[in-house]
Protein backbone atom coordinates (compact mmCIF):
# COMPACT_ATOMS: atom_id res chain seq x y z
CA UNK A 1 0.00 0.00 0.00
CA UNK A 2 1.39 3.41 -0.89
CA UNK A 3 0.45 6.96 0.02
CA UNK A 4 -2.00 8.79 -2.25
CA UNK A 5 -0.92 12.07 -3.91
CA UNK A 6 -0.76 14.87 -1.33
CA UNK A 7 -3.45 16.71 -3.33
CA UNK A 8 -5.93 14.23 -1.93
CA UNK A 9 -4.90 14.97 1.64
CA UNK A 10 -5.60 18.66 1.00
CA UNK A 11 -8.87 17.93 -0.80
CA UNK A 12 -10.19 15.61 1.92
CA UNK A 13 -8.95 17.44 5.03
CA UNK A 14 -8.38 21.04 3.93
CA UNK A 15 -11.81 22.28 5.02
CA UNK A 16 -11.78 20.70 8.48
CA UNK A 17 -8.24 21.94 9.16
CA UNK A 18 -9.30 25.47 8.19
CA UNK A 19 -12.28 25.29 10.58
CA UNK A 20 -10.03 24.04 13.36
CA UNK A 21 -7.52 26.83 12.75
CA UNK A 22 -10.32 29.40 12.83
CA UNK A 23 -11.81 27.94 15.99
CA UNK A 24 -8.44 28.05 17.78
CA UNK A 25 -7.05 31.31 16.37
CA UNK A 26 -9.89 33.28 14.85
CA UNK A 27 -10.21 34.18 11.18
CA UNK A 28 -7.26 36.58 10.99
CA UNK A 29 -4.47 34.11 11.76
CA UNK A 30 -6.23 30.98 10.51
CA UNK A 31 -4.99 31.23 6.92
CA UNK A 32 -1.35 31.37 7.95
CA UNK A 33 -1.79 28.49 10.39
CA UNK A 34 -3.49 26.46 7.66
CA UNK A 35 -0.61 27.08 5.25
CA UNK A 36 2.02 26.30 7.88
CA UNK A 37 0.17 23.11 8.80
CA UNK A 38 -0.02 21.77 5.26
CA UNK A 39 3.52 22.84 4.39
CA UNK A 40 4.81 21.03 7.45
CA UNK A 41 2.62 18.01 6.65
CA UNK A 42 3.92 17.98 3.06
CA UNK A 43 7.50 17.93 4.37
CA UNK A 44 6.82 14.93 6.59
CA UNK A 45 4.33 13.19 4.29
CA UNK A 46 6.63 10.64 2.59
CA UNK A 47 7.45 9.19 6.03
CA UNK A 48 3.82 8.86 7.11
CA UNK A 49 2.61 5.28 7.59
CA UNK A 50 -0.09 4.62 4.99
CA UNK A 51 -2.52 3.33 7.66
CA UNK A 52 -2.22 6.49 9.79
CA UNK A 53 -5.21 8.55 10.90
CA UNK A 54 -4.45 11.48 8.61
CA UNK A 55 -6.97 13.87 10.15
CA UNK A 56 -5.63 13.35 13.69
CA UNK A 57 -2.09 13.78 12.33
CA UNK A 58 -3.03 17.08 10.66
CA UNK A 59 -4.88 18.39 13.73
CA UNK A 60 -1.80 17.63 15.85
CA UNK A 61 0.35 19.65 13.43
CA UNK A 62 -2.27 22.43 13.35
CA UNK A 63 -2.26 22.53 17.16
CA UNK A 64 1.52 23.11 17.20
CA UNK A 65 1.33 25.68 14.42
CA UNK A 66 -1.45 27.52 16.24
CA UNK A 67 0.82 27.80 19.28
CA UNK A 68 3.60 29.16 17.03
CA UNK A 69 1.23 31.67 15.44
CA UNK A 70 0.00 32.83 18.85
CA UNK A 71 3.59 33.32 20.06
CA UNK A 72 4.48 35.09 16.82
CA UNK A 73 1.47 37.38 17.21
CA UNK A 74 2.55 38.19 20.78
CA UNK A 75 6.02 39.06 19.47
CA UNK A 76 4.63 41.16 16.65
CA UNK A 77 2.49 43.05 19.14
CA UNK A 78 5.68 44.60 20.54
CA UNK A 79 5.94 48.15 19.18
CA UNK A 80 9.35 47.95 17.45
CA UNK A 81 8.65 44.66 15.79
CA UNK A 82 5.68 45.33 13.59
CA UNK A 83 5.76 44.27 9.96
CA UNK A 84 3.22 45.11 7.29
CA UNK A 85 1.07 42.15 6.27
CA UNK A 86 2.55 41.07 2.92
CA UNK A 87 -0.41 38.95 1.82
CA UNK A 88 -3.01 40.43 -0.46
CA UNK A 89 -6.29 41.15 1.29
CA UNK A 90 -9.31 39.08 0.33
CA UNK A 91 -13.03 39.51 0.73
CA UNK A 92 -13.97 38.05 4.14
CA UNK A 93 -16.53 35.25 3.93
CA UNK A 94 -19.72 35.30 6.01
CA UNK A 95 -18.21 33.21 8.77
CA UNK A 96 -15.02 35.29 8.84
CA UNK A 97 -17.07 38.47 9.15
CA UNK A 98 -19.08 37.09 12.11
CA UNK A 99 -17.33 39.18 14.77
CA UNK A 100 -19.76 38.02 17.51
CA UNK A 101 -18.65 34.45 16.94
CA UNK A 102 -14.96 35.27 17.13
CA UNK A 103 -15.26 37.43 20.21
CA UNK A 104 -17.30 34.69 21.94
CA UNK A 105 -14.52 32.20 21.13
CA UNK A 106 -11.75 34.57 22.10
CA UNK A 107 -13.39 35.01 25.52
CA UNK A 108 -13.01 31.28 26.32
CA UNK A 109 -10.09 30.06 28.43
CA UNK A 110 -7.52 28.48 26.04
CA UNK A 111 -8.16 24.87 27.10
CA UNK A 112 -11.91 25.21 26.62
CA UNK A 113 -11.40 26.79 23.23
CA UNK A 114 -8.97 24.03 22.17
CA UNK A 115 -11.21 21.25 23.52
CA UNK A 116 -14.17 22.65 21.56
CA UNK A 117 -12.02 22.93 18.41
CA UNK A 118 -10.42 19.50 18.59
CA UNK A 119 -13.47 17.55 19.74
CA UNK A 120 -16.48 19.33 18.29
CA UNK A 121 -14.94 20.85 15.16
CA UNK A 122 -12.22 18.29 14.29
CA UNK A 123 -14.13 15.30 15.64
CA UNK A 124 -11.24 13.83 17.64
CA UNK A 125 -12.16 11.56 20.58
CA UNK A 126 -11.53 13.00 24.06
CA UNK A 127 -8.59 10.62 24.61
CA UNK A 128 -6.76 12.26 21.67
CA UNK A 129 -7.87 15.77 22.64
CA UNK A 130 -6.42 15.11 26.12
CA UNK A 131 -2.99 14.27 24.64
CA UNK A 132 -3.01 17.47 22.59
CA UNK A 133 -3.99 19.83 25.40
CA UNK A 134 -1.96 18.00 28.06
CA UNK A 135 -4.98 16.96 30.08
CA UNK A 136 -6.95 13.82 30.98
CA UNK A 137 -9.84 12.52 28.85
CA UNK A 138 -12.31 13.37 31.64
CA UNK A 139 -10.95 16.88 32.02
CA UNK A 140 -10.93 17.36 28.23
CA UNK A 141 -14.58 16.35 28.13
CA UNK A 142 -15.35 18.83 30.91
CA UNK A 143 -13.43 21.61 29.13
CA UNK A 144 -15.35 20.99 25.92
CA UNK A 145 -18.75 20.99 27.60
CA UNK A 146 -17.92 24.07 29.68
CA UNK A 147 -16.76 25.77 26.48
CA UNK A 148 -19.96 24.88 24.64
CA UNK A 149 -22.07 26.12 27.58
CA UNK A 150 -20.24 29.45 27.63
CA UNK A 151 -20.57 29.85 23.91
CA UNK A 152 -24.30 29.22 24.20
CA UNK A 153 -24.73 32.19 26.53
CA UNK A 154 -22.44 34.48 24.51
CA UNK A 155 -23.64 33.70 20.97
CA UNK A 156 -25.58 34.76 19.09
CA UNK A 157 -25.72 38.23 20.62
CA UNK A 158 -29.27 39.38 21.20
CA UNK A 159 -30.25 41.86 18.59
CA UNK A 160 -31.51 45.01 20.34
CA UNK A 161 -33.87 46.92 18.13
Amino acid sequence: MSLPPFDQVVAVHGAVVLRVCRAVLGPHDADDAWSETFLSALRAYPGLRPDSDVRAWLVTIAHRKAIDVTRGAARRARPDDSLPDPTAPHQPTAVEADTDLWSALAALPPKQRQAVAYHHVAGLPYAEVAVLIDSTPAAARRSASDGIARLRTAYPKEKVS
Partner: protein
Amino acid sequence: MTTALDALLAPDAPADLARLTDRLATQATDADLLDVAHRTIDSPYGPLLAAATPAGLVRLAFALEDHGVVLDRLAAQISPRVLASSRSLDPVARQLEEYFAGRRQAFDLSLDLRLARGFRRQVLDHLREVPYGHTATYTAIAAASGSPRAVRAVGTACATNPIPIVVPCHRIVRTDGTIGQYLGGTATKRALLAMEEAA
Protein backbone atom coordinates in the same frame (compact mmCIF):
# COMPACT_ATOMS: atom_id res chain seq x y z
CA MET B 1 -31.36 29.36 16.38
CA THR B 2 -27.83 29.15 15.08
CA THR B 3 -25.36 28.12 17.75
CA ALA B 4 -21.66 29.01 17.75
CA LEU B 5 -20.91 25.41 16.83
CA ASP B 6 -23.25 25.55 13.82
CA ALA B 7 -21.46 28.68 12.70
CA LEU B 8 -18.04 27.06 13.17
CA LEU B 9 -19.06 23.96 11.25
CA ALA B 10 -20.75 25.82 8.39
CA PRO B 11 -19.28 24.84 5.04
CA ASP B 12 -16.72 27.24 3.62
CA ALA B 13 -16.91 29.10 0.40
CA PRO B 14 -14.95 26.83 -1.98
CA ALA B 15 -13.07 29.92 -3.18
CA ASP B 16 -11.41 30.19 0.23
CA LEU B 17 -9.90 26.75 0.07
CA ALA B 18 -9.00 27.14 -3.60
CA ARG B 19 -7.06 30.29 -2.73
CA LEU B 20 -5.24 28.56 0.14
CA THR B 21 -4.53 25.48 -1.98
CA ASP B 22 -3.05 27.60 -4.77
CA ARG B 23 -0.92 29.46 -2.28
CA LEU B 24 0.25 26.13 -0.82
CA ALA B 25 1.51 24.98 -4.23
CA THR B 26 3.52 28.19 -4.57
CA GLN B 27 4.91 27.96 -1.05
CA ALA B 28 5.77 24.28 -1.57
CA THR B 29 7.63 25.10 -4.80
CA ASP B 30 9.59 27.86 -3.06
CA ALA B 31 10.47 25.49 -0.19
CA ASP B 32 11.60 22.74 -2.64
CA LEU B 33 8.87 20.48 -1.30
CA LEU B 34 6.91 19.99 -4.50
CA ASP B 35 8.29 16.78 -6.03
CA VAL B 36 5.56 16.34 -8.65
CA ALA B 37 3.55 19.30 -9.95
CA HIS B 38 0.65 18.65 -12.28
CA ARG B 39 -2.12 20.33 -14.22
CA THR B 40 -4.62 19.56 -16.94
CA ILE B 41 -4.07 21.06 -20.39
CA ASP B 42 -6.86 21.28 -22.96
CA SER B 43 -6.08 19.85 -26.38
CA PRO B 44 -7.98 19.01 -29.56
CA TYR B 45 -7.68 15.39 -28.41
CA GLY B 46 -9.24 15.89 -25.01
CA PRO B 47 -7.72 16.95 -21.69
CA LEU B 48 -4.06 16.05 -21.19
CA LEU B 49 -2.54 15.53 -17.77
CA ALA B 50 0.95 17.04 -17.53
CA ALA B 51 3.24 16.29 -14.59
CA ALA B 52 6.70 17.67 -13.87
CA THR B 53 9.46 17.13 -11.34
CA PRO B 54 12.03 19.84 -10.62
CA ALA B 55 14.11 18.10 -13.33
CA GLY B 56 11.48 18.58 -16.04
CA LEU B 57 8.35 17.23 -17.67
CA VAL B 58 7.98 13.65 -16.50
CA ARG B 59 4.55 12.55 -17.74
CA LEU B 60 1.91 13.50 -20.27
CA ALA B 61 -1.26 11.43 -20.37
CA PHE B 62 -4.26 11.34 -22.68
CA ALA B 63 -7.70 10.98 -21.13
CA LEU B 64 -7.71 7.35 -22.32
CA GLU B 65 -5.44 6.74 -19.37
CA ASP B 66 -7.36 7.48 -16.18
CA HIS B 67 -5.68 10.64 -14.87
CA GLY B 68 -6.38 9.69 -11.24
CA VAL B 69 -4.63 6.37 -11.74
CA VAL B 70 -1.70 8.13 -13.44
CA LEU B 71 -1.31 10.45 -10.43
CA ASP B 72 -1.51 7.53 -7.98
CA ARG B 73 1.29 5.82 -9.90
CA LEU B 74 3.43 8.95 -9.94
CA ALA B 75 2.97 9.21 -6.16
CA ALA B 76 4.17 5.61 -5.81
CA GLN B 77 6.97 5.76 -8.40
CA ILE B 78 8.43 9.22 -7.73
CA SER B 79 7.12 10.79 -4.52
CA PRO B 80 3.75 11.29 -2.80
CA ARG B 81 4.54 15.04 -2.58
CA VAL B 82 2.18 15.66 -5.49
CA LEU B 83 0.24 18.91 -5.90
CA ALA B 84 -1.67 20.63 -8.66
CA SER B 85 0.27 23.70 -9.76
CA SER B 86 -0.37 25.47 -12.99
CA ARG B 87 2.54 27.87 -12.59
CA SER B 88 5.28 25.20 -12.90
CA LEU B 89 3.66 23.83 -16.04
CA ASP B 90 2.87 27.08 -17.85
CA PRO B 91 5.70 26.66 -20.41
CA VAL B 92 4.49 23.13 -21.19
CA ALA B 93 0.93 24.34 -21.67
CA ARG B 94 2.07 27.22 -23.88
CA GLN B 95 4.27 25.09 -26.11
CA LEU B 96 1.62 22.40 -26.49
CA GLU B 97 -0.93 25.04 -27.45
CA GLU B 98 1.46 26.36 -30.10
CA TYR B 99 2.10 22.83 -31.35
CA PHE B 100 -1.61 22.03 -31.68
CA ALA B 101 -2.10 25.33 -33.52
CA GLY B 102 0.59 24.30 -36.01
CA ARG B 103 2.87 27.10 -34.84
CA ARG B 104 5.56 24.96 -33.18
CA GLN B 105 7.55 22.08 -34.64
CA ALA B 106 9.96 21.30 -31.81
CA PHE B 107 9.59 21.46 -28.04
CA ASP B 108 12.07 23.37 -25.95
CA LEU B 109 11.43 21.78 -22.56
CA SER B 110 13.55 19.97 -20.01
CA LEU B 111 12.41 16.37 -19.80
CA ASP B 112 12.71 13.96 -16.91
CA LEU B 113 12.78 10.50 -18.52
CA ARG B 114 13.25 8.56 -15.28
CA LEU B 115 10.07 6.54 -15.87
CA ALA B 116 11.67 4.80 -18.89
CA ARG B 117 14.65 2.57 -18.21
CA GLY B 118 17.13 0.50 -20.15
CA PHE B 119 16.22 -0.34 -23.72
CA ARG B 120 12.96 1.62 -23.53
CA ARG B 121 14.87 4.72 -22.57
CA GLN B 122 17.25 4.19 -25.51
CA VAL B 123 14.27 3.90 -27.84
CA LEU B 124 12.83 7.20 -26.55
CA ASP B 125 16.14 8.91 -27.31
CA HIS B 126 15.88 7.71 -30.93
CA LEU B 127 12.21 8.73 -31.19
CA ARG B 128 13.26 12.26 -30.38
CA GLU B 129 15.44 12.29 -33.51
CA VAL B 130 12.49 11.72 -35.86
CA PRO B 131 11.69 15.24 -37.11
CA TYR B 132 8.32 16.95 -37.28
CA GLY B 133 6.25 15.93 -40.30
CA HIS B 134 8.26 12.73 -40.85
CA THR B 135 7.69 9.13 -39.86
CA ALA B 136 9.97 6.19 -39.15
CA THR B 137 9.19 2.49 -38.86
CA TYR B 138 9.39 0.38 -35.72
CA THR B 139 11.98 -1.69 -37.59
CA ALA B 140 14.14 1.37 -38.33
CA ILE B 141 14.04 2.47 -34.68
CA ALA B 142 14.97 -1.06 -33.57
CA ALA B 143 17.97 -0.96 -35.91
CA ALA B 144 18.95 2.53 -34.73
CA SER B 145 18.73 1.35 -31.11
CA GLY B 146 21.26 -1.39 -31.90
CA SER B 147 18.82 -4.32 -31.68
CA PRO B 148 17.40 -4.84 -35.17
CA ARG B 149 15.34 -7.84 -34.04
CA ALA B 150 13.74 -6.01 -31.12
CA VAL B 151 10.89 -4.58 -33.22
CA ARG B 152 8.29 -5.75 -30.71
CA ALA B 153 10.24 -4.18 -27.83
CA VAL B 154 10.23 -0.89 -29.73
CA GLY B 155 6.44 -1.21 -29.93
CA THR B 156 6.34 -1.70 -26.16
CA ALA B 157 8.60 1.29 -25.60
CA CYS B 158 6.21 3.43 -27.68
CA ALA B 159 3.17 2.03 -25.89
CA THR B 160 4.70 2.92 -22.51
CA ASN B 161 6.18 6.27 -23.56
CA PRO B 162 5.68 8.46 -20.47
CA ILE B 163 5.70 11.71 -22.49
CA PRO B 164 3.78 11.19 -25.73
CA ILE B 165 3.54 14.07 -28.25
CA VAL B 166 6.69 15.70 -26.82
CA VAL B 167 8.60 12.45 -27.32
CA PRO B 168 7.00 11.81 -30.71
CA CYS B 169 6.09 8.12 -30.66
CA HIS B 170 3.17 9.02 -32.94
CA ARG B 171 5.72 9.36 -35.76
CA ILE B 172 6.52 5.62 -35.63
CA VAL B 173 4.51 3.52 -38.06
CA ARG B 174 4.54 -0.07 -39.25
CA THR B 175 6.67 -1.32 -42.14
CA ASP B 176 3.54 -2.19 -44.17
CA GLY B 177 2.55 1.48 -44.02
CA THR B 178 -0.34 0.98 -41.58
CA ILE B 179 -0.45 3.31 -38.67
CA GLY B 180 0.03 1.03 -35.66
CA GLN B 181 -1.21 1.44 -32.10
CA TYR B 182 -1.16 4.66 -30.10
CA LEU B 183 -1.47 5.63 -26.45
CA GLY B 184 -4.05 8.26 -27.31
CA GLY B 185 -5.92 5.96 -29.75
CA THR B 186 -5.21 5.43 -33.46
CA ALA B 187 -7.57 8.27 -34.46
CA THR B 188 -5.43 10.72 -32.49
CA LYS B 189 -2.25 9.32 -34.02
CA ARG B 190 -3.70 9.72 -37.52
CA ALA B 191 -4.83 13.29 -36.71
CA LEU B 192 -1.41 14.27 -35.30
CA LEU B 193 0.37 12.91 -38.38
CA ALA B 194 -2.08 14.67 -40.72
CA MET B 195 -1.65 17.94 -38.81
CA GLU B 196 2.14 17.75 -39.00
CA GLU B 197 2.05 16.92 -42.68
CA ALA B 198 -0.25 19.85 -43.42
CA ALA B 199 1.69 22.41 -41.41
